[in-house]
Symmetry: C2
Subunit: 204 residues, 2 copies
DNA sequence: ACAAATATGGAGCGATCGATCCATATTCTG
DNA sequence: CAGAATATGGATCGATCGCTCCATATTTGT
């Protein structure tokens, strides 16, 4: 047919995503994108349409490769309750390990959504729903398994865990303190009769 | 001395704050600010220095007039436990009443913080600490009063309530759904042995 | 009334924004 | 090899950005 792409799309999306993640959509210029990806304007616009397009693709790539992978992995290798515990373990660890304190790309993107970007708006709403549904499945399965109190309202507890997660990610950006992040998760787990595995930080 | 200011500083900060709140710092132009305040560039720059200056002042005005007022009012008119409940009641009500779904200005500002703006970074960290300390005082006072289980770790529960609040405000922006917002608070209150006052939405 | 001081209105600065265009280079089909 | 198709490099577009400057208007102290 014609000349093939010379760049690795996944790597480009990761490079672009890293900048969007750290600086936000508005504060990232197309020049930033050419520098971090090593591509020219032409190549970027030909491949992704416009700035919004590459942002959406980068966000999607991030969610698919990090978040969805984590959900699938935990759900297939752990008990329902320990999947919830493990989820928060990983989020806390990653939040503390990020020297840039970027928080969560999905959360950051969520707060840059304005009414004139319906596509991003519905996308972030859908993705947060997926996380909520993961928590919901874990709670219900945990209840069926006897790991979690069956008297609890699984729907509301899933919503609750989602809000704790989002709040945690906000705090990870502005106050990346281990005691804070670890401590806040304790009561959220305790509400389901769960605890950290090995951290042993006393009562929650 | 000289010619006095013709504008009401509080009203200008509210008008500017409303735009920053809805669009974010980067996406708000100085032209937006002249239009929403009715002032000229000259007046704005003479009074507030630069765009970052008026943003900081507007954020500060918002927090002092809304958030601090709420904390003081609830803490002086309600029992510790009911202050916590009332806080979430008001936040949920305000989140649902805002047709623009702007969420929380402090949360929005938090996620626009980058490493090159240390002033804003430390300011939002301090303000979130104030909220955390409010929760902490409520939990401790509730425990002394017998309203809240004394076995609970007040520090971690304050952190937990803070994260639920921040998560709620994120969701208020992207999924302003009553069942979601009301539902997620239930388990957070239940963790302290508290419940909604009159909503009566069943088990949490 | 006069001078000092500050606010206001508005033009317009250089820089940068997102985006486009086109000539050139490269790789495919036939 | 010929020609279609796509990618790349780079110049550059008009618009908008945050911000500054200056002439003018208005108020206060003397």
């Amino acid at each position: 047919m014609a000349r093939p792409r010379e760049f690795d799309e996944a790597k480009v999306l990761e490079a672009a995503g890293a900048v969007f993640w750290a600086k936000g959509f508005e504060a990232t210029s197309t020049r930033d994108l050419t520098e971090c990806t090593g591509l020219t304007h032409s190549s970027i616009y030909a491949a992704f349409g416009d700035k919004r397009g590459i942002f959406m693709r980068a966000l999607q790539h991030y969610l698919d490769s990090i978040l969805l992978e984590r959900i699938v992995r935990l759900e297939t290798t752990r008990s329902p309750g320990q999947a919830i515990v493990g989820f928060f373990e990983e989020i806390v660890d990653r939040s503390l390990a990020d020297a840039q304190h970027r928080g969560c790309m999905l959360v950051n993107a969520s707060l840059e959504v304005t009414e004139d970007n319906a596509e991003l708006q519905s996308y972030v709403a859908t993705e947060t729903s997926k996380i909520e549904q993961f928590f919901f499945r874990c709670v219900v399965a945990g209840q069926e398994k006897g790991e979690i109190d069956s008297e609890l309202n699984a729907e509301n507890h899933a919503r609750h865990l989602l809000s704790v997660l989002l709040g945690l990610r906000v705090l990870a950006r502005i106050r990346p303190d281990k005691d804070l992040l670890v401590g806040l998760v304790g009561p959220a787990l305790a509400a389901l009769g769960l605890t950290w595995r090995a951290r042993g930080r006393g009562r929650s």
